[in-house]
Symmetry: C2
Subunit: 361 residues, 2 copies
């Protein structure tokens, strides 16, 4: 078992990574301080893990709120259903919400915890690779709006993150691959050595070799913990973790949530960011090919939908990283070093968009 800590003063919390953790009564005794627990999960994950988790929670009062599975249900309305469950169970301020599932469950349950009685504690028990390496750590919670992804939410740090790596064994391979996109992201923006490790160990990861998985999850969480500790509310460095996300959000929004997995859209988005960085003369064409090749080996998509550059730009502009009308993007100064910039030639962006999304509609 690996144990990290995310250092945020009074809001610091541990991240535990290892096989079988969600069935470990001692771990849960330590990290879930409440007597009243509301487990939020979905109809895919619950049949697999809910009973084991509830057993491990011992003699606490445990209630459950089960949501339908999928990004399309990451809405204010779904969040309201979690609130309804908390009210119906008459839970009060010392209750704890426990998010058992992937990124959607973590985001919705965390947002509900942020809002219920103006904030109750929650613990993340992520069951997807994407959630274990990224979305469960750092306190970003929220839901989508028809006008854009994650437009509504709160910063609310969990009390703990408990990543049971054994749960990845029941993950559909498409979701495993989508999670790898976020893993690759860390290498691209922050650590070329980790990227090289990924290039050497991709097959082991796809085969869920336990030491490889544990190392990858730990390394990503270490990087995320360092960045979040430095910049909890994303005024600076944290924005680097959005590599590929502004392009990716446009893809997701255009396709309708659910058609593309988040990680798949981010994968293509990272390729576009590399393409633009190359057009700006920051990285070489071989670097772009390196990104493309790794994505392809991971089984990820590398072709954007042909929605047209104009529509893509419009959707990107609605992304919340727009500051005073100028689209700030995460680009690559080199492989292993991301940079947040709104200071690029507009024509270069236009070329990237036209090449990948098709000419402006």
């Amino acid at each position: 078992m690996q144990r990290l800590s995310i250092d945020l003063g009074a809001r610091s919390y541990p991240i535990l990574i290892g096989p079988g953790l969600l069935e470990d009564g001692d771990v849960l005794s330590e990290l879930v301080p409440a007597r009243d627990v509301m487990v939020v999960s979905n109809d895919v994950v619950a049949p697999l893990y809910l009973a084991r988790l509830v057993r491990a929670l011992g003699d606490r009062r445990v209630e459950t709120a089960l949501l339908p599975d999928g990004e399309r249900y990451k809405t204010l309305e779904t969040m309201g259903r979690v609130l309804d469950a908390l009210v119906a169970a008459r839970m009060n301020r010392d209750a704890c919400v426990l998010a058992l599932g992937g990124g959607v469950i973590g985001d919705v349950a965390g947002f509900a915890a942020a809002c219920y009685q103006r904030g109750v504690g929650y613990v993340q028990v992520p069951t997807t690779l994407l959630a274990q390496v990224d979305s469960s750590v750092g306190g970003k919670t929220g839901v989508n709006h028809p006008g854009g992804k994650n437009l509504v939410g709160a910063f609310h740090q969990p009390l703990a993150v408990i990543s049971d790596t054994r749960t990845l064994g029941t993950l559909p391979v498409r979701e495993l691959r989508a999670g790898l996109a976020e893993v690759i992201k860390y290498g691209l923006v922050a650590d070329e050595a980790f990227l090289a490790w990924l290039e050497s160990n991709l097959e082991q990861l796809l085969a869920l070799d336990p030491p490889a998985v544990e190392y990858a999850v730990r390394r990503c969480c270490e990087m995320k913990a360092a960045i979040v500790a430095e910049d909890e509310r994303e005024h600076g460095a944290r924005a680097l973790l959005n590599l590929g996300h502004t392009f990716g959000h446009a893809i997701e929004a255009a396709a309708g949530y659910g058609e593309w997995l988040h990680g798949e859209a981010v994968g293509v988005g990272m390729l576009l960011a590399a393409d633009l960085s190359h057009r700006l003369g920051w990285i070489g064409s071989a670097d772009v090919e390196r990104v493309r090749e790794l994505l392809q080996r991971a089984g990820l998509r590398v072709t954007a939908p042909r929605i047209g550059a104009g529509r893509a730009l419009e959707l990107m502009a609605m992304d919340k990283k727009v500051l005073a009308g100028r689209i700030r993007l995460v680009l690559l100064a080199r492989i292993g070093e991301g940079v947040v910039s709104g200071d690029y030639a507009a024509e270069a962006l236009q070329q990237t968009l036209s090449t990948h999304f098709g000419a402006a509609a």
Copy 2:
């Protein structure tokens, strides 16, 4: 014009109190830093003040979201309408929400600002006495849930509070009286001298004598600022400001939101808190009569609805100040000194409830 400051480190902000402030371009230039402003108001206040405010905002881009008037619309759904307006106007992270109205508008608009893009700034422009002396200051935002008042929300401090005392001139007298309940509250929990001043100046306040109004609003804001600076998230002293609120919330919930004004329910709630404090031997019967008399002189209700002690207790238990199943109440150690306590004889509470709400149903 009075100017106070609420001291919360990086989240400190000014409170301005005086006649004509919402038409004062210089004040708005200083305190509303954004180029894009979303004014949230309702269909009663907007016809009176929106045009003047928009004119005073000068050449900013101003959009408006008008909500129906009344506590019954203080819901997650209404908050969603403000979010829809923000998305439709494509406002981004540097936009500012401006709440023009009473407590409901301030709570809903502030909660929407807390959630939009995980937090944008907002400025309170309260137009009711209750909002000017209490709800606009301190960063509590939120909405009601069918299961209880203010069960959903966020702590989100405004960038400024601009209290134009001239707006009280258009307030229905019933709402003015309801606001006086919160004014009286400050005297009861924190300042007997202020209570005595109120007893001497009640007629001037009801007649909206400008110096009296300005003094009362300033004094309440001073007390609230001191308490909030000490205890922003209500772990301790801030709970004193809930005098009468747990009883009052039960009244509001039983009657259906809108039947009783919040201040009216709080007024009766304060009388019950005084009654219980007397039964515990903390204050004398003359003190209870002093509370009753002041409420009556202010034209406030002093009789609780006959919902039965059992139902009242049930509704109180759902109030979020319940800690681990025990109802903590704000009581009076003496006139001018509130105390938060769960340490009282259950029979005394039972007697208070039976006397005022009727025998248990």
